[in-house]
């Protein structure tokens, strides 16, 4: 590990042929939406650059990001990326354990100070001094802070690291916070989703290692190449939405005909992700294709947005009131109507009383 190997050398050592290597370069270029000539650029970069070590930390999480990642739809890409990023440290995937494993972290800091990528899956809980996530005798948040202070850049995998996800949902007993709330002095790229799509994860890593920088990010720090469109924008059921044809129940005729799931609470219209184009499990399917609405898992705070099965959700009103905009609004407008009617009646009574008393000077 001490010798600075290039990506290409590392791959060859893992038994990947040059033919497979070039295929991977073309595939990556296509996956990233780059022009064909970039396949050569990627190949050249991988042949000449020393490979960047990646440290993959796990905080409070369910490991679904890793599960997704290792199931990258193109096995070739997964294989190559796994050897390519030289996962020097990953609690779930590495062979080392205990003190040996923790030593790798210190070695990485020594050898590659300021030069490695920190991939964070899950997030740190802050309550009780971080005791809710304890690794190697230390709170996770300390480990995260130490590694982050020496890394080059951070990838926030999944909705946990990007937004907080389920452990940060109300009332958030452990005070779990996304990475960007703890680490403020390093560039962070968010790759949200619960989990993110495998090809999106490999694509982001490939881009960063090839070009030595983040892909173009949007306002919220997500790579534009995968998160600049809503699932709704490329949904194959979009024609039914525009036509006004909706599934009303999961067992009705509309459901059988594949109508739009908006009325069933599909969050596609407000969810930025690449599910409707890349799909899941090697392009096999995705939630809407399987007949269920999108939950909006790649959006901030999606657990606290109310029902997954309603298009109009609970508002997060300060004070913990849980009610939909329509309920609150209906009550307000109804109260206004009743108030107006009552006031009108009172006005008439007051007016006629004044008149019978001899009238006021104004009339």
């Amino acid at each position: 590990m001490g010798i600075q190997k290039t990506f290409y050398e590392a791959m060859r050592e893992h038994g990947i042929t040059r033919r497979s290597f070039l295929k991977f370069c073309s595939l990556t270029a296509a996956g990233l939406g780059l022009a064909p000539e970039f396949a050569g650029t990627i190949a050249h970069a991988l042949e000449t650059k020393p490979r960047t070590p990646v440290i993959w930390l796990h905080g409070l999480e369910c490991t679904c990001c890793t599960e997704s990642f290792i199931r990258s739809g193109h096995p070739l890409a997964a294989d190559v990326v796994l050897s390519m990023i030289s996962l020097d440290y990953d609690d779930t995937l590495m062979a080392a354990a205990g003190h040996q494993a923790e030593e790798i972290l210190e070695q990485t800091i020594e050898k590659y100070d300021g030069n490695f990528i920190l991939a964070c899956e899950g997030n740190p809980p802050l309550n009780e001094d971080g005791m809710y996530c304890f690794q190697g005798g230390k709170p996770y948040v300390e480990k995260l802070r130490r590694m982050a202070s020496h890394c080059k850049a951070i990838i926030a995998w999944g909705s946990c690291a990007s937004w907080g996800c389920v452990q940060a949902a109300h009332p958030n007993p452990t005070r779990a916070v996304p990475i960007h709330k703890v680490i403020t002095d390093k560039p962070i790229i968010k790759v949200p989703g619960c989990p993110p799509i495998a090809e999106v994860m490999t694509g982001v890593i490939a881009y960063m290692l090839t070009f030595d920088r983040f892909p173009e990010l949007d306002r919220q720090g997500r790579p534009k190449m995968f998160y600049s469109q809503r699932n709704h924008d490329k949904c194959y059921r979009r024609a039914h939405f525009d036509a006004g044809q909706f599934v009303e129940r999961f067992d009705d005729e509309g459901a059988r005909k594949g109508y739009c799931l908006y009325k069933m609470g599909c969050k596609g219209p407000t969810t930025y992700n690449a599910c409707s184009t890349i799909e899941w499990n090697g392009g096999l399917s995705w939630p809407v294709k399987s007949g269920h609405g999108c939950l909006g898992c790649s959006e901030d705070n999606f657990w606290d947005r109310g029902s997954f099965y309603s298009a109009v959700n609970d508002l997060n009103v300060p004070g913990g009131i849980e009610s939909t905009a329509d309920k609150i609004g209906g009550v307000l407008a109804g109260a206004a109507a009743i108030g107006v009617a009552a006031h009108a009646a009172a006005s008439v009574i007051s007016h006629s009383r004044n008149n019978t008393k001899g009238g006021s000077s104004h009339d």
């Binding site: 534009k224 525009d242 036509a243 006004g244 044809q245 905009a325 307000l332 109260a335 108030g339 006005s347």
Partner: protein, 233 residues
Amino acid sequence: MNSNVASGPRDPVGQQAVYVFEAPVRLWHWLHTFSFLILAVTGYLIAHPLPSPIGEPSDHFVMGNLRLIHFISAYVFAIGFAVRIYWAFVGNKYSREIFYLPIWKAKWWKELLFEVKFYLFLTKDKDSTLGHNPLAQTAMFFLNTLFTFFMIGTGFALYGQGLGDGSWADRMFGWIIPLLGGGQAVRNWHILGMWIMLMFAIIHMYMAARADIMGRKSSVSAMIGGWRLFRDE
């Protein structure tokens, strides 16, 4: 640029009519009203779609048309409001009333208190203001003016999601989406905003009609012809 008739004394004894609402203000008022009504109805139907039409999707465009009408009305609503803001600078003093509350004036607070008492039937005197009375002005400022800004902001932010990343709406209003916690939250607040404006509209219509019938100054006709008539004999 004060109109010479309207700059008269606060209590116009003997003055029968004051030109309060200039033509652009009146035009905006009705554009605002009708575009809001269309927006409210189409918006409600976007959140709660109609029953599905039968047949091929290529034969129908129900949601498409609803959204189109919603967006066109939204442009009328927003551009109308932009022109109205311009008019607040060049129009008469009443044209500015809905954009600020003169909370630094003791007299204004006194009149506000009076209006509250008046509508609670606690006093039998009648108000002496020419334009909006302070209570009406307060309601107008918070429930109409601020919510119009809010609805235009959240509306165009959501519109920008459809237009796409980098579109004008996304660049100008897209920052609102993370601020309110994501697209779904913005949607819900946008819906609540509609209900609050509707609530305002109900109260506003009642107050205007009541002022016409029972008060000393004309209200509904003033927003049509511009002249406010007084019934002081």
